[in-house]
Amino acid sequence: MTNIMKKQKYERPIINRINAGVSNKFGTQTKINIISEIDGLAVKDLLKDYDSPLYVISEREIRETYNKAKQAFSTRYPKVQFAWSYKTNYLDAVCRLYHKLGSWAEVVSGFEYDKAIDNGVPGSNIIFNGPDKSEEDLTKAIKNGSLIHVDHFDELYLIMKLADKIEETPKLAIRVNMDTGIYPQWDRFGFNYENGEAWNALNRIMLNEKVDLVGLHTHIGTYIMTPNAYGVAAYKLAELAVRVDKKYGHKVKYIDMGGGFASKNTLKGAYLPGTDTCPSFDDYAEAITNALINSEIDPDNLPTLFLETGRALIDDAGYLLGTVLANKRLADGRRSTIIDIGINMLFTSFWYEHNIVPAQETTHHTEDTTIYGPLCMNIDVIRAAIQFPLLNKKDHVVISRIGAYNMTQWLQFITLRPNVVIIDMDKNVHIIRENETKKNFDQLEKVPEYLK
């Protein structure tokens, strides 16, 4: 007769020292969160079908976040236009989704500019930022009627020179950097407000008949947790707009507040989690729109408010799924868990304490753990210190809030980049970027004859 006694679920034996009353850098944890499904689809099935590791983007999450942001601003200000920040995530499917939702494109290189055109964005709906715009890029942008945000005087003079040769009038805005009361103050991009450079650039543009000043732009920094800084910035741009109007009778069509809104990720060294400390879209919207509405700008000619929000729109929509490769014990007794997600796929792990959780049920027992990636490099650390449940080889993990920057700043380093899929509103899964193969790289390399 077969023995049909059901065996108990196995969890490996562990022992932890109790340090009553003393907190440690691993923090305390009372509840183990798990993410076993994304938009109703099982993580284990996604990994089975598309291999591990795997980037997953949720269309539902993108739409929900976009609608929240749009509502926050459009209920407070009559004319609002979002422009999708290509550098945050320029996978074509992602860009097209934002364009479908109504976003224009905000690009910072000729490469990104061409991507936006290929994604069907009319040239007049492209904002061209950044310090590196070639003569060829600028010519294209001028001819297409794109909004060129001038970064420095060398660029301004080049545009003026091109304006002599090209029939179309370049549509210009200047990028303005300023003191908004936050540290660090970004001053490497654009023209400074306080020292009068921005005003000087505006005068030079206004005195040149071959270019058209259409807007004013700022981008005060990144991961800004103080909404009031945006209020200060909006006030200063409004003041410039009013000065231009007073002196030249010219009204700018838009004020672009750039990006930099924080997502809910937790910065390294932060005392409290980002979910508790980051401002909401409403907080940012309140600060910016109050400053514009309360400024001296003619209320009958309010400029359109442009927003180039990237991180805060897409971070929550991205997940990175992976698998435990091994567990080890470090010299001081800490456990190390090695997963197949390295820093080459998770660039943001350099500045975030990413939320990493199991994809399957675990008990409440945890150990002080360091989570390493698979690279043979000492810096490949996903979480240096975390109270983590007892996962075994082949168990799955999910890292959430990775939609911003990881699919653009990723590195082909030691391993190849994996598949990226999107889950649509009907829960269908589509590959939007195929996993790389060695062949992809072989195509670009050339071996000189003498080394063959």
Partner: protein
């Protein structure tokens, strides 16, 4: 490996070492194995018991078992080797 004879093990997963004053918490299988070790069971007896009772293969358990023994040593819960 000999476990210190005077450590107190509670069923709920706490261990107290009176010689150092330190306390430890264990998960259920940790308590079970520590108790078996304290009772003098050897590796084969413990392994047979676990493989019979739990959903685990012998390689995985052996790996986890030695890791657990190392932690007991690290926390000074074992008698010094003769």
């Amino acid at each position: 490996m000999n476990i210190k004879k005077d450590i107190a093990i509670s069923d709920s997963g706490f261990v107290f070492d009176p010689t150092t004053g330190e306390s430890f918490s264990l998960n259920p299988l940790g308590v079970k194995i520590l108790t078996l070790l304290k009772d003098g069971d050897d590796q084969k007896e413990i392994s047979d018991f676990v493989l019979q009772q739990y959903e685990v293969d012998s390689d995985t358990f052996e790996n986890n078992y030695y890791d657990f023994l190392n932690m007991l040593k690290q926390f000074n819960l074992t008698e010094p080797q003769a």
